[in-house]
């Protein structure tokens, strides 16, 4: 992790009766975009609700931007929250709703209409839809309005619970671009999503939650490096896979390998990935083997997530 600390939790727990929503978790979220992943019921929404002051923790301490969020309207002025479930009133037009919410967020009355319109444009809600009541909107349009309300008061921290739900691929790309722009402008973003490929492309840091515990945190590379009992697998397409495999094996860099003669490829299980990458180019030049393609087989967020939650 790097950058200023935005969220810090120490021994944080939340119970729902006898059910543990969050179980004694401690973590730090730095400025930038941080992804929150975990299976259903893992505690993601509970954590987001505690961060946004919707829920009180049962024990432990959580600070957001240096303050405790529960019952703290002053801090809530600096946080934008986009909840997972439907939260858009059917009988209102988007601008009407945003104007009211802007006033609730403490914006001056003379500014709310302008701010609301700016945010609807920012989330790319088509202008012709502005005059319609939100009950007539598609799920994707509602998601955009929900995001607009979270951005309305220009918060320092944006908490987005499954914002990609209901969006088509183009909509997801647009949403990702908006989030990147916000981060570039200095807004910190905590985002949960089940679409791990998109989260991977978006986030530098990840928090993985399971059974109410934070089971991994940090950058994807750091988390992968910490999984020492899970050898990294690298698939290499080349003109002499067997030669390459023997050289690496002789140097004691591999735990094992699988040759796929028909596809002229070999999959290595690497003992020490940093050392491997350090020596890889020299070794390749020495061997004279021609490499056509190379890819890590268990480095993606999806694979890391499946590994740590299994």
């Amino acid at each position: 992790m790097s950058g200023a600390t935005i969220i810090e939790a120490r021994e944080l727990s939340r119970w729902y009766g006898i059910v543990m929503g969050l179980n004694n978790v401690s973590f730090v979220v730095a400025a930038g975009i941080t992804g929150l992943v975990g299976p259903n019921g893992a505690g993601k929404s509970t954590l987001m609700q505690i961060i946004t002051g919707q829920l009180q923790s049962s024990s432990g301490v959580l600070t957001v931007l240096g303050e405790r969020p529960w019952n703290n309207p002053r801090l809530l002025k600096r946080i934008g929250y986009c909840p997972e479930h439907e939260a858009v009133p059917n009988d209102l037009r988007p601008l009407e709703w945003l104007e009211g919410l802007g006033l609730l967020a403490g914006l001056p009355p003379g500014k709310v209409a302008e701010q609301g319109a700016q945010m609807l444009e920012r989330v790319k809600l088509p202008r012709e839809a502005w005059a319609r009541r939100m009950g007539q909107y598609s799920k994707g349009m509602r998601q955009r309005v929900k995001l607009a309300q979270a951005l309305l008061h220009r918060p320092d921290l944006l908490v987005l619970d499954e914002p990609m739900n209901g969006l088509d691929p183009m909509g997801r790309q647009e949403m990702a671009q908006i989030i990147r722009e916000l981060a570039a402008a200095g807004t910190s973003v905590l985002i949960s999503s089940h679409i791990l490929a998109e989260l991977e492309a978006l986030c530098r840091d990840i928090l993985i939650v399971n059974w109410g515990r934070i089971i991994a945190s940090g950058s994807q590379l750091d988390i992968r490096a910490d999984l020492k009992d899970w050898p990294e697998e690298i698939e290499v397409h080349c003109d002499a896979p067997e030669t390459l495999a023997r050289r690496l094996f002789d140097r004691g860099m591999l735990l094992g390998f699988d040759l796929q003669a028909e596809s002229s490829s070999v999959t290595f299980r690497v003992k020490d990935p940093p050392l491997f990458y350090q020596q890889w180019l020299d070794l390749l030049l020495e061997s004279g083997v021609r490499v056509y393609a190379m890819r890590g087989l268990n480095r993606s967020l999806k694979q890391i997530y499946e590994k740590v939650t299994s």
Binding site: Q49, P73, L107, A185
Partner: protein, 335 residues
């Protein structure tokens, strides 16, 4: 890649918490007034106030010899003429008593009438209070803004008080002001001050209790049909309990059943605030004709006017408002 970086965090002035509460209240009221039926009920309330002002004008015009009203007395039947002449002489001889008693009685009736209209208006407004916020889950977004749940509830209470001002407080003030503006003498304002104080006192008691109850019922469910039915059901069931305990059971041991009715309890408070017994005593002492008239009134009506069950009504309403507050506190929470 170059990013668009025009987005800036908000650094301008912020509005106060009272402004934010007022936003919840006014937006809620606007939402309520979108209902066509509610607007019709409002017309009914203000129409009743206009009728009241007209009656006060009519009474005042009896004192003006060359007025149309005074001159048209001769077209009435003889008994009616007798009553009107008695009223005129009473108004002339004892204006401070007669104006007070007459307007107290009229505003007592108007208050009872406006209470029924208000109950209906609340039934129509119930979905716009908390129900729709619960069903759309927008309540989560509201509580993520710079307000606490108490601010939200206070705002919604403001919505109710605003609505009740339109259905009840406003019409009462309007009727009193217009009726006395059209009176033949300025001292009508002074002599009728108690009627206004009584009517406003009752309206404010009613506003507080009904607002709390309306919020409670509105928070019961996120389904509009459920909350509207619950409100109408509570109202009508209460009336049934009152009727059953009075007409069918007629047993002193079961009279507490009457206090399950909101309107019965408010009626008792109304009678206790207006203290019509004092007015009737005054009238009886001043005009013999009135004494004869009172002897014709049924025993039960007189008993209600003379001995309103203030404490029973008060406790009944306090219990209802407390239950409503518990429901609101339980349902209106971010989690």
């Amino acid at each position: 890649m170059l990013h668009e970086a025009s987005y800036q965090h908000w650094i301008g002035a912020r509005t106060s918490i009272w402004r934010r509460r007022a936003t919840i209240a006014s937006n809620g009221l606007k939402g309520c007034l979108k209902s066509r039926w509610l607007r019709r009920v409002l017309v009914g309330c203000w129409g009743a106030a206009l009728v009241q002002a007209s009656v006060l004008f009519f009474i005042g015009q009896l004192l003006v010899p060359d007025s149309f009203v005074a001159q048209s007395q001769e077209h009435f039947s003889s008994p009616m003429q007798g009553i009107l002449q008695g009223l005129v002489s009473w108004l002339k001889d004892h204006p401070e008593v007669s104006v007070r008693v007459t307007q107290d009685f009229l505003f007592y009736q108007l208050s009872g009438f406006l209470l029924l209209f208000t109950m209906l208006a609340i039934g129509l407004a119930i979905p716009h209070l908390i129900t729709r916020d619960l069903s759309s889950k927008a309540i989560v977004i509201y509580s993520s803004k710079a307000i606490s749940r108490w601010d939200y509830i206070l705002g919604k209470l403001g919505t109710m008080l605003g609505l009740l001002s339109l259905t009840w407080l406003g019409p009462v003030c309007f009727a009193w002001l217009l009726g006395n503006l059209l009176a033949p003498h300025w001292n009508f304002f002074w002599h009728s001050r108690l009627a206004l104080i009584h009517a406003l006192g009752f309206a404010m008691c009613g506003a507080v209790v009904l607002s709390a109850m309306a919020l409670g019922v509105s928070a019961i469910s996120g389904r509009e049909k459920v909350t509207v039915t619950a409100w109408l059901g509570l109202w009508l069931l209460g009336r049934v309990f009152t009727s059953v305990s009075r007409e069918v059971l007629d047993s002193p041991a079961l009279r507490w059943l009457q206090h399950l009715s909101t309107t019965f309890n408010l009626g008792e408070i109304n009678s206790a605030i207006f203290r019509l017994r004092d007015d009737l005593k005054l009238a009886e002492d001043n005009i013999p004709m009135f004494g004869n008239l009172l002897r014709g009134v049924t025993r039960q009506t007189m008993a209600t006017v003379e001995n309103p069950e203030f404490w029973g009504g008060f406790v009944g309403l306090a219990v209802m408002a407390s239950l409503a507050a518990i429901v609101v506190a339980w349902r209106v929470k971010p989690e």
